[in-house]
Symmetry: C2
Subunit: 488 residues, 2 copies
């Protein structure tokens, strides 16, 4: 057990910093006088105290972390931080006379921090503004945390997507590397994230949102989170301009943040546009939008202009795992929402706040499959798998294979568990996909106009578990279940 004390020490530090985040809704509660200041202040104090106690109490255990420690740390973070985010959520909702149970509150917190954006709450417009700020700010924090995880911490652990990621940046832009030290890398990425956030906020504000709406929707756009302060989501604004701004920022945020970092640092953008994953992500999202638009047009749902507007917006919103909606797209022919949900499994880049399989894995799988085809015809052909200018190592291909198996088995098993609990197959599979890809809205009863509160507590827990698994790139969590993990 004491083997894991250094992990708990770091966790204490993370919780301490996290508690400071509660000052954002506290400030909003103060400026907007929504009567919930005490909730945020006391929750922050409790979280700070717990974090600081853990951090300080275990300060003797400052030690270099090993891979298994890293896996443990990351897994525990995504389980524990939502717990402390749940405290003010339950408290505040209770104080305004709309209490929710722990299952729902924890789900809402996990959905926030993992940037999933599924919700069990209704009548969002009637909520005190600080609650909505907290919900959306959780996504922004989660997005930031993921970037550091994906770019700075996970590569050190050699975990799935990050391994790929390392390979990725080493490829087309071989001469320059990400700043090798974790701290500096993290700072650089946060710089990009902050710049994007500021730009997105200003664009929304200039485009006609109120300042507070611009902030909340900025929070959930750059993090690909998709929560909104309005029940109508983006339809509330009824503004093609704002929809266009959202599309641009969702596209930008679906790409690898490290590419921006490197391009800005080097001052030229040639390598940026040549990056195969970036091209893949943009092609998938824009191409997906065209497919949906064509289907809507061909099936006579809309005329050409509306088909393009609604098709593009929703395909990019759902495909990028964000999940904003302007219309209840479940009323469309079922091909469209299903296609968009599947798109969200593959479209986003590693090194973004997106979830799911990630474009880089898709590219490796396709190239590897193409090589096998050639081998069928020319058995003696020797051909490496390449991505951009780089040869993909066998170990990376093996890790992609393992990821795909775990992804498939997890998705199917959790869906079957929901089916066993008497959920219909379409709702079950889409709820799990929407959770494991951190997309948010699914199909059936958990669609964009529906709500995860129709599920039983058991079903909500399954989805909560799926969100955490998806966020952890699956493997790292599953690794916890292997006996070799617990052997010293």
């Amino acid at each position: 057990m004491s083997d894991f004390f250094p992990v708990l020490r770091v966790l204490g530090a993370l919780l301490t910093f996290f508690s400071l985040g509660m000052f954002v809704p506290w400030i909003i509660s103060w400026t907007h006088a929504d009567g919930l200041r005490h909730v945020w202040a006391f929750s922050a104090a409790i979280s700070f105290a717990c974090g600081a106690a853990l951090w300080g109490g275990l300060r003797r255990y400052k030690r270099e972390l090993q891979p298994r420690h890293g896996i443990f740390l990351v897994s525990l973070t995504w389980v524990l931080l939502p717990l402390f985010a749940t405290l003010p959520m339950m408290w505040a909702l209770n104080d305004i006379g709309r209490p929710i149970n722990f299952t729902h509150a924890y789900f809402e917190s996990v959905s926030g921090l993992t940037t999933t954006g599924a919700t069990v709450l209704a009548r969002l417009d009637a909520l005190p503004v600080s609650i909505n700020v907290w919900r959306t700010f959780l996504q922004w924090l989660g997005g930031m945390g993921i970037l550091v995880l994906a770019v700075a911490i996970l590569p050190l652990l050699g975990v799935g997507g990050s391994q790929l990621f390392k390979a990725e940046v080493a490829g087309p832009i071989k001469d320059s590397k990400l700043t090798p030290r974790v701290k500096e890398t993290a700072k650089g990425l946060w710089g990009i994230y902050a710049t994007f956030s500021a730009a997105c906020f200003l664009a929304y504000w200039a485009g006609g949102m109120s300042a507070i709406d611009a902030m909340m929707h900025m929070f959930t756009t750059v993090s690909l989170g998709g929560l909104s302060s309005h029940d109508a989501s983006f339809a509330y604004f009824a503004s093609p301009l704002l929809e266009g701004i959202a599309v641009i920022f969702m596209l930008a945020a679906s790409c690898n943040f490290a590419l921006y970092f490197i391009a800005l640092r080097k001052g030229h953008w040639r390598g940026f546009w040549r990056d195969p994953e970036l091209r893949g992500t943009l092609a998938a999202l824009v191409g997906g939008g065209l497919v949906v638009a064509l289907v809507l047009l061909a099936k006579g749902v809309y005329g050409p202009v509306d088909a393009l507007r609604y098709g593009m917006f929703h395909a990019i919103s759902v495909g990028s795992t964000t999940g904003f909606a302007i219309v209840d797209y479940l009323a469309w022919p079922v091909f469209a929402p299903l296609f968009m949900l599947l798109l969200s499994s593959v479209a986003t880049s590693a090194g973004s706040a997106g979830c799911g399989i990630k474009m880089v894995r898709v590219l490796i799988l396709v190239k590897q499959a193409r090589r096998e085809m050639t081998r069928l015809v020319h058995p003696r052909a020797v051909q490496p798998v390449t991505l951009g200018a780089m040869v993909v190592d066998h170990r990376v291909i093996f890790s992609v294979l393992a990821f795909m198996l775990v992804y498939g088995v997890t998705t199917i098993s959790l869906s079957m568990l929901l089916v066993l609990s008497d959920l219909d197959p379409v709702t079950a599979f889409s709820a799990v996909l929407a959770s494991v890809n951190c997309t948010g809205p699914g199909l059936g009863s958990v669609g964009p106009a529906g709500n995860f509160s129709v599920l039983t507590d058991f079903q909500v827990w399954v989805c909560t578990f799926a969100m955490v698994l998806g966020r952890l790139e699956l493997l790292s969590f599953i690794a916890l279940l292997t006996p070799s993990f617990w052997r010293k």
Copy 2:
């Protein structure tokens, strides 16, 4: 083009032999006097003439086949033979005043030869006996063809499952090898197949079936085909004894036929029972039966005895890709039929007449994933993937990876095509899975009590394509689409 003449020559030979198969329904038509003798006689004559013309006309092109020729031959065989099987099917049904269109007739023939067992025909009990004999005999022929393909021809081409298969038999039973020459191997396997067939026929007959029913159901049991001469399928007999016999032969036929061959040849069975794929297949089918039985019991569908009887029979029937039914199991909680359909994707062994992913690939995937988990925790660990006593080569793992990608992409794309054509998602996905796994009955409108004739012609063609793809182990057909295939 002349490059492919040697392929057409072999195809001519195959067609010539295939035409002889039409004498089976001809004999039955004669002994049962069902008035269709002319159909079988003329169809046989036409097929024989076409085959012989092709064979004879291209006799100058007798040449050693290269891998690309083999792929072309195999693909063309599964497209062309059903075409000639369609001729008497349409003719006979037309003569009895129940004409069907070409789309349906071709579907029925492909469903027969690929051992899928999906049907567009209704009122089977009212059909002239020779038509039912032809339908079921097609499955028996198809099963035999697959065994030779899988065991004797495909390994020479290095195609997917067969490459695995080579690896497989080289493993636990390293010292003995399948007789190296194709002809001898094929003879040995046909010997096993014939022995199984004789035993199954006698068991069914002794168990209470009429001789003709015993023959037809033997045809579709040992080939894991699942067609029946009765609308009620196995419920017609209402005999737990016959159901038990079917279960035993379905289990036996789901295993690798080469294992029987080797065990019989060597005269001892230790290696047989130690084979990891055999254990995997039996565990999956029997374990799957227990799961279904438990679910039926827990959900209060049946008492313990009936839950075990119906759960076991249907899980093994569907899971082994056979598809016999005693009850309309779509009335069960949807978990059960969905679970059985998924089981049919993975349960059967390579070297059986089963279809889908095959147990050997599942085992390799699982072991490979387990290795990656260990690597996450101990990055420097070097650990080969083993199956039984054998180390699985990297190339095999890569080919499994490619297969899984093509399997996933094919299944999802074809399902989405059906959804696009306005089929509901559950029917669409299950129809494609039931086709690509050669299972037969799906869910929704294409369930065990339903029928593929509810689909539009376009949808029927998609399913036909899926059956052929599944039978070709996907890769070989997809290889036809790569440019390098057509380059000399």
